[in-house]
């Protein structure tokens, strides 16, 4: 079971590196999902090792929040694609204009 601790750290770091390196917004959202998966795994491992059942509840709340985040993020991407015809982060200059 101790290998799962390293797996959760690996998933978080891989999601972070993907979020930094990727250029299109959909892939960045995918990598954020990966990070959330790693953190949820760590919460469950914490619940197993300490016996606190509260951290399993935190996983439920995390799932709710990640669902909201993905839904709003994807709808923002669609709105951006309608207005600017791009999903690349380096082609978007809304704030600086």
């Amino acid at each position: 079971m101790s290998i799962y601790y390293y797996l959760s750290a690996f998933l978080f770091c891989l999601g972070l590196i993907g979020t930094i390196l990727k250029k299109d917004l959909i892939s960045m959202l995918l990598c954020i999902e990966l990070m959330l998966g790693g953190v949820a795994l760590l919460f469950i491992l914490f619940s197993k090792s300490t016996g606190f059942i509260d951290s399993q509840l935190m996983v439920i709340f995390m799932m709710i929040i990640s669902a909201c985040e993905v839904a709003i993020g994807l709808s923002l991407i669609i709105a951006l694609y309608r207005n600017k015809q791009t999903i690349y982060t380096d082609e978007i200059k809304i704030i600086t204009e």
Binding site: I17, I20, I26, S47, S49, D54, F61, M63, I65
Partner: protein, 176 residues
């Protein structure tokens, strides 16, 4: 012990496919497989309810939502293999190394003192007793958050430019 290693290897392979795949659709399906492997890990750890919710919500709804959005957006004009910024690559590798070092320190220090506690068979009952007694206010707030997210999605995606709807929609009698 063998199941641990097998599930970990599967999850690592699919997670690497998410980040380093050339096609975004392949990334989305690799994410789906990663979430399913995580659900299997949850099942193996004994949290059966969370495993079911992971399959239903994360793998079933969220990963498929990504595929739907990719169908709406023409991904052929957005290839995933553009040249990457060298400075960003170096900075991210250093960041990852530092974070991995800190996490390895924490894990190595505490992993021996952690003992596995077998949650009892009625852990789901305890879970929901806790959810509806101690955490009832965050639970209600989560429902309100979901409602707000639904409304926000509809409002954001229904936003149209005024000139389009004035010119074309009024003439043809059809919504553009």
């Amino acid at each position: 012990m063998g199941v641990d290693i097998l599930l970990t290897i599967l999850t690592v392979v699919f997670a690497l496919m998410v980040v380093f795949s050339k096609k975004t659709v392949v990334s989305a399906f690799a994410l789906l497989m990663t979430l399913l492997c995580l659900a299997m890990i949850y099942f193996q750890l004994g949290t059966v309810f969370l495993s079911a919710v992971q399959v239903l919500v994360n793998a079933g709804a969220i990963a498929i939502l990504f595929v739907f959005v990719m169908m709406l957006i023409d991904l052929e004009q957005f290839p995933n293999n553009r040249e990457r910024n060298k400075i960003k690559l170096v900075i991210s590798i250093f960041t990852i190394l530092i974070i991995m070092g800190v996490l390895a320190l924490i894990i190595n220090n505490n992993i021996d003192t952690l003992t596995v506690i077998n949650l009892s068979d009625n852990s789901m009952k305890a879970l929901f007793e806790k959810l509806y007694n101690t955490y009832y206010l965050p639970f209600e707030m989560a429902t309100v958050l979901l409602l707000a997210a639904i409304v926000a999605c509809v409002v954001i995606t229904n936003h149209r430019k005024d000139d389009d709807s004035d010119n074309e929609g009024a003439d043809k009698g059809v919504h553009p």
